[in-house]
């Protein structure tokens, strides 16, 4: 076991891990931050996307020890300071961007990474960025719409399909 220390959602955390412990297991099992989901465990679905030093990564395909000293952000840290949903989360609710919600934490974290890089993406850019996030329920349309809306763009013209 090795002592691992990092910052998660602004708080310093530490715990004992093995070499083979995945970042997602450290978050879910050690820190009990179970908002980050494991859908496929094979780096295909994106349900486990978190940010490490500001970059979207699949937490199921990164060793926990690789994040030693890193700033990690998970879905639990996305709400505003008063506990209300942030703009992306609120847009997912307003535009029905989720059904079962299993993919949603990864979708929100990917969307946050996209909007930081590209504050006003086109619909095609949103779809391209979500290449590694799979949703079994929504058909993506309202997810794309929610992200466009969260970026402050008019989505009136994007009709529901």
């Amino acid at each position: 076991m090795t002592q691992l220390t990092m910052t998660v959602n602004g708080k310093a955390v530490s715990g004992d891990v093995e070499g083979r412990t995945l970042l997602v297991n450290f978050l879910r099992d050690t820190l009990r931050l179970t908002g980050t989901h494991v859908g496929c465990d094979t780096s295909q679905c994106g349900a486990c996307v978190v940010h490490v030093n500001g970059q979207a990564v699949k937490a199921c395909t990164m060793l926990a020890l690789e994040a030693e000293g890193a700033e990690v952000a998970t879905i639990e840290g996305q709400a505003d300071a008063d506990g209300s949903l942030n703009a992306i989360q609120q847009a997912f609710q307003d535009h029905h961007g989720l059904q079962c919600g299993f993919c949603t934490p990864g979708m929100v974290m990917s969307a946050a990474a996209l909007l930081k890089e590209n504050p006003k993406p086109t619909e095609a850019e949103v779809r391209d960025y979500l290449e590694g996030n799979i949703c079994r329920c929504t058909g993506y349309h309202n997810i794309v719409k929610a992200i466009m809306a969260a970026s402050g763009q008019d989505v009136g013209a994007i009709a529901a399909e």
């Binding site: 090795t2 093995e18 070499g19 083979r20 995945l22 465990d41 094979t42 780096s43 994106g46 996307v49 970059q55 979207a56 990564v57 699949k58 395909t61 990164m62 060793l63 020890l65 690789e66 030693e68 990917s110 990474a113 996209l114 960025y129 290449e131 590694g132 996030n133």
Partner: protein, 262 residues
């Protein structure tokens, strides 16, 4: 995953030393190796992470004009910083998805030499030099068939040097589930001739299509490829496409790459 120790050295020399231990293995971005370990297809005693080695990070321009990419540079950084070689930057920007590009590295891709990976096509078509901790290997000697390279046990890809062609483009026909190349073709036109490298198609891994190179060196246009074909023999056939289908796609994607480069 079987249990293993983890080390994260800060220099190439320390990494080479750490890899001398029996059954130690290098870890790049882990986008291939971690899934392999999960399936228990490998049992290293120790993983030596290369991601903390600053001398293996980033993109720069060498004195000879080559674009040099550190062996542990993630695809997203190549996409953002290899603007001096636009076709290379575009190839990196098209690998997998954003999260894969933030972790996966050029050294890992070239060491793995997946028959459907993108970087091998860029390295071979550009006549790149693969620099390791103790030697330089020409791309023509480096790729030795599916998942096989000239690398010795414990040898680390520290840098890849890409001569910059006059014109170049990479065209990938994506396998829709994995996003790897069903067939990918990289065409590079240098002052002294054209090089064409094909990935995704052959059971031998990445290869140069020499007939197309000759035709294009005389006349760099898609029309110069009319009448050329690749034998379906030795092409990968699987549920995504037969050997004949892949052989056909090689010609189509080469034409598209020439058109995109011209």
């Amino acid at each position: 995953m079987y249990a293993f120790d983890f080390e994260k050295p800060g220099s190439i020399a320390d990494a080479v030393a750490a890899l001398k231990d029996e059954d130690a293995q290098a870890l790049g971005g882990g986008q291939t190796l971690i899934p392999t370990l999960k399936q228990r297809l490998a049992m290293p005693s120790k993983l030596v992470s290369l991601t903390g080695i600053s001398e293996m990070q980033g993109v720069c321009r060498g004195d000879d004009g080559a674009v040099c990419v550190g062996g542990a540079t993630p695809h997203a950084v190549v996409a953002a910083e290899a603007g001096d070689y636009p076709a290379l930057a575009a190839l990196a920007a098209g690998i997998g998805d954003p999260a894969v590009r933030n972790r996966g590295t050029i050294g890992g891709s070239l060491a793995n030499n997946d028959p459907a990976a993108c970087y091998p096509a860029a390295a071979l078509a550009s006549a790149a030099t693969i620099v390791t901790d103790h030697r330089e290997i020409a791309a023509d000697d480096y790729f030795q068939g599916m998942f096989t390279t000239a690398l010795d046990e414990g040898e680390i890809v520290t840098e890849v040097r890409f001569p910059v062609p006059e014109k170049a483009a990479y065209m990938k026909f994506e396998q829709p589930a994995s996003r790897f190349a069903l067939v990918g073709v990289f065409v590079a036109k240098f002052a002294d001739g054209v090089r064409v490298a094909v990935t995704g198609a052959s059971e031998e891994g990445v290869f140069r299509w020499t007939e197309a190179e000759q035709a294009l060196s005389g006349d760099f246009s898609a029309a110069a490829l009319d009448g050329l074909s690749v034998p379906a023999d030795g092409m990968i056939g699987d549920l995504h496409g037969s050997g004949a289908y892949r052989a056909h796609l090689v010609v189509v994607m080469t034409k598209r790459a020439v058109e995109a480069a011209a």
